[in-house]
Symmetry: D2
Subunit: 352 residues, 4 copies
């Protein structure tokens, strides 16, 4: 870190800061400039709260230099991880994130019932998607709204998997449910509202299923990668990041989909990056264009909300596309993927 002193700081102030640095077990290196002095701190200060130096007399501010994550960081600039879900253990297709193929996870926001999720699964499969999503545990802003079918919903998802062969992705809300959800799902989803629910992240680190880690709606990329360290440091290396829109002043969408997160995350981390254009816009009519843009930006997968009849969906109707729209979109996604050296084959299982 770099500690910037005020122009008016005294030599005594600088000496005091240097003392504090050494007390922390780090090495101080003061540099006297023409307008002010800075103290460069040498050593690994990532686990230290350096901002407290701002309280020492004469300090103007503290600037961090080191990236605050380690397991999520790249060992070398070309490192990329591949995360695979499904397969023989759940008698489902094998789907990989981070390889040449860009898989599409599709399905309704909520598991509304067994018939409904089977119908949705079949529609997703027929349209060409590679995995099935659906919420059994729903985090609802309003306590009086439908909260999901819980374990029954998980069972319905498992039936839909059996019917379609599509691996299933579903959200988990609380640490005590992690084992239960892990027993059914091929991939656990951490929702945007739980992106800094650290106890939940820890619990997800202590089970074997890959995790789709959604970015918090006001999280920086550094914070996202630090949140992943909670999962990775538990021994679970199957982490896939998901940008799903951030909260800004914009009012033409529910969120602002920040696609620059794709190349920047690829620059910082080896973890695959999935884009969710449904939550990322909140408007079904914007989903196709943003799905294509996401693939052109280099994403490693898409999560798209699809409902057999959006105008009657129990949740997230406004942002769900119909099976017909998805079926029309899939070959377009493949064309864009091909244009950037990837593929998004219609209904073909990924090979690692």
């Amino acid at each position: 870190m770099i500690i910037v002193m005020h122009p008016s700081a005294t030599k005594q102030n600088v000496d005091h800061v240097c003392d504090l640095v050494r007390e922390m077990g780090l090495k101080d290196h003061p540099i006297v400039g023409t307008n002010l002095t800075v103290v460069a701190v040498i050593g690994d200060d990532r686990k230290k709260d350096g901002t407290k130096f701002e309280q020492a007399p004469g300090v103007d501010r503290v600037m961090k230099v080191l990236q605050p994550y380690t397991l999520a960081a790249k060992a070398d600039p070309k490192q990329r991880s591949v995360v695979t879900i499904g397969g023989p253990a759940t008698k489902s297709d094998t789907v990989s994130f981070g390889g040449a193929m860009v898989p599409v996870i599709a399905g309704p926001c909520s598991v509304e019932g067994e018939e409904a999720i089977i119908e949705a699964g079949n529609a997703a499969k027929k349209a060409g998607a590679h995995a099935l999503r659906g919420g059994a545990f729903k985090p609802r802003t309003n306590p009086y709204s439908f909260q999901g079918h819980g374990e029954d919903g998980l069972k319905m998802l498992a039936v839909a998997r059996e019917a379609t062969g599509l691996p299933i992705v579903t959200e988990v809300l609380t640490p005590t449910d992690v084992k239960l959800v892990s027993g059914y799902a091929d991939m656990l989803q951490i929702g945007t509202r739980n992106s800094q629910n650290f106890k939940l992240l820890e619990a997800c680190g202590d089970q074997p299923k890959p995790v789709l880690m959604k970015r918090g709606m006001s999280m920086t990329l550094d914070e996202l990668l630090q949140a992943c360290e909670y999962i990775l440091s538990g021994g679970n290396t199957g982490v896939v990041l998901c940008e799903r829109g951030i909260r800004t002043f914009e009012d033409h969408t529910r969120n602002t989909l920040s696609l620059s997160a794709v190349p920047e995350l690829h620059h910082r981390t080896h973890l695959p990056v999935v884009i969710d254009p449904s939550h990322g816009t909140g408007k079904a009519h914007l989903v196709p264009a943003m799905a294509k843009a996401a693939i052109a930006a280099g994403c490693d997968g898409l999560a798209i909300e699809m409902h057999v009849c959006p105008e009657k969906a129990w949740t997230d109707g406004a942002q769900s596309v119909t099976p017909a729209v998805l079926a029309e979109l899939m070959p377009e996604l493949d064309r864009v993927a091909q244009a950037v050296g990837r593929s998004c084959p219609v209904g073909v299982t990924a090979d690692v």
Copy 2:
């Protein structure tokens, strides 16, 4: 809700929307304007997901009319609740939020050790604060940072309460810890990162201690009040709201403290509103001015981070004031409180 049709919508489109409205058990009321048609929906649609109408052909957008919360709403414009913590049960001072007196909760970010929290408690007491805060369970952005002393930290807080008479406020992170924390604390704190951890909110609704409910850093006021419904609907009426800064583009502070939340929340809800100028700015030198401003804006309490030696604090050093700064601030707060018809007496216990 109001469903706005496109200027190009057909009569058939409008009729279809009206059918959907009636299918939901609500009453449709179409109004043909000079440029377009809107369909007013009559009935209580608060528990319905109205945005899905945006998917019906010819619909431009849906605008909500009703407030999405009920227990947090005011029965009449003057209704105000008073929430009291401490008292005989924990042999501590009784402190009330929402009355004429504006209490100050002060203390360190983390409980660093028994001696440290007793020293901090004594300093807070001496400076004139009315309750003691300190974290035993710490939600840390970085998994390698200090995570709090856990139950040991709760015990240390209880010792500090005994030593000072100040009721204690401390954070709870996960549903399974709620009973434990509730057994020690006078008031449970829900942190900004857990503001939409609905399972945790539910658990807090099912225990008797009042809850200090922090606003999420990108939460609207409507979302905050809906989150409170999770606690209130469980039967716990002791909810105190806390604005602690929102995430914006500003870079001179860690967060933007949005003080207009005070009069607007008083306009919408009967629940008391506390301001946290420490997290709300992230900079100790801004805390006194913002604490005074908060009281002038009409807040019902303050939560201020104070550390005996901020430059050596384990956590949040940059935003913690010293006991000396707090001692100087307390009489100023009282003067501002008096100026707006309230009081913030130095070290005097609140009476309901």
Copy 3:
């Protein structure tokens, strides 16, 4: 507009609002719901300040229904305008925005000198770009920074046009310079900081050259389209919109490039939409991915900062790509364009 009354509003309050509506020459239509009353206002209220109704007793809030722009709005859902720059009058290539071809405007942030801009122009041409950008009048955040060569810079641009055949795009800062800049440029640029400099917009409406209208960094799309009305209502129909990143909390980029603006603007307006991935990210290493994403999202052109030696650029070095990067990118852009039914041919002039 819809005027939402408080649940506690009296019949008298509603009557008073209805009176006010009629005084404005509009028609009132009150609807009594189960929880509250709303007053639908019938008639064209776009030029009226409806928010003032919020001051009438018993009014909760006012919701706008009509789009506040007319000339920028689409007459029918498929309407799209084509804006053409260059051509015989300036002896330059003809380039069109809004057709099947997606042109690329490339060049340095500032015109640094005659030789420099000719070198840059040749490099842009060789890489395959279709128009040349460069600033003669520079809006600089810091008054002590280089402010551009002014009219001399315009002359240098004209020389570069003659040398390359590329039409030139350059910024104008103030109404009194509009004629001057219009005399040299093929397209005038309105910068993000002047996006609501209404006198400048008016002046641009009163000259014949097309205008590249950049979105303000905190402008909604409705505000952007209203700003365009200042130009369009002056009689100049040659308006091309440009999304160049918005200001959010994100810190991995200088701005957040909001690509959903592309499909949404195409939904609302017939005007072509250009994307500027250079300002939109502020980081050269993110430009190629975002340029490809922009084309996949359906944009009608790109504006890319390119400098012969970015590490020595006078301005915007951090976000300028090299000619080599641009040359590598151009065929990729064409492949993505082809995948979505467009083209971005390397160095081929557009045909309307």
Copy 4:
């Protein structure tokens, strides 16, 4: 500035950066840390675009150290400027910003007519305000809305000044109008949409009347102070800053009033700081609380929109208070001011 190298940067990369630094006439000081190398740059780099170093191979990012403004900066921590408007030259009261007294500028958004502005002026005077505001040139988002009476409006303001003795504050929109407005007004206002209209700022630096410089709605404090340098460096030292709300995701207000700007600006600059709670919230019912909060935060003045009949105001009705509300507020403001060692006397002229 500090140039942070990638962990993977080579010695050659570092040497190249050091060469570039020396080429700029600055001194390089590389520091080899345990994880990476940083290059501290010594010398005054405020007028240089340092971000371009991010393009040199092996550079991760560039961090600025020096404040980018000089005339607005404080020579010593206690320096405060006082800016005075009105006085014998315009036969109006003398009002000062930055002294012990906190003046209130009140008046309508627009000058609607001569009678109307005289009535408003008299009402403001009677309520106890110290200066009169009113727009003759109105920057309107919508081109079809009322744009102000122009020079006629200025004349009406002058008549109202004569009638009331209140000095007048009014907005100027374009450089060519600066002399005209300066001839009538006691203080020129730069609106939020023109906060980076640098040609206008320059023109305001070249005339003698003090300037009320509104912060742009998405401007950082550093950018605000740099914008002021355009005025200050022209020789006009009469600059008063005005925080008027920033654009965020919040939806309960039109803008988020960021009161922490008051203590932070006082920390960085000697210039006085005024708060505009009307634009800062956009809601009249929030104005009184935020006006009191602003004074408690230490502001040097208030700008409050007041209209004789807000529900019929031509512009900004929703955020204008009535004369009765202002008259009730003024003594409260004085009580809060007294509590923080200032004063805001009802209708008493300021003495420097």
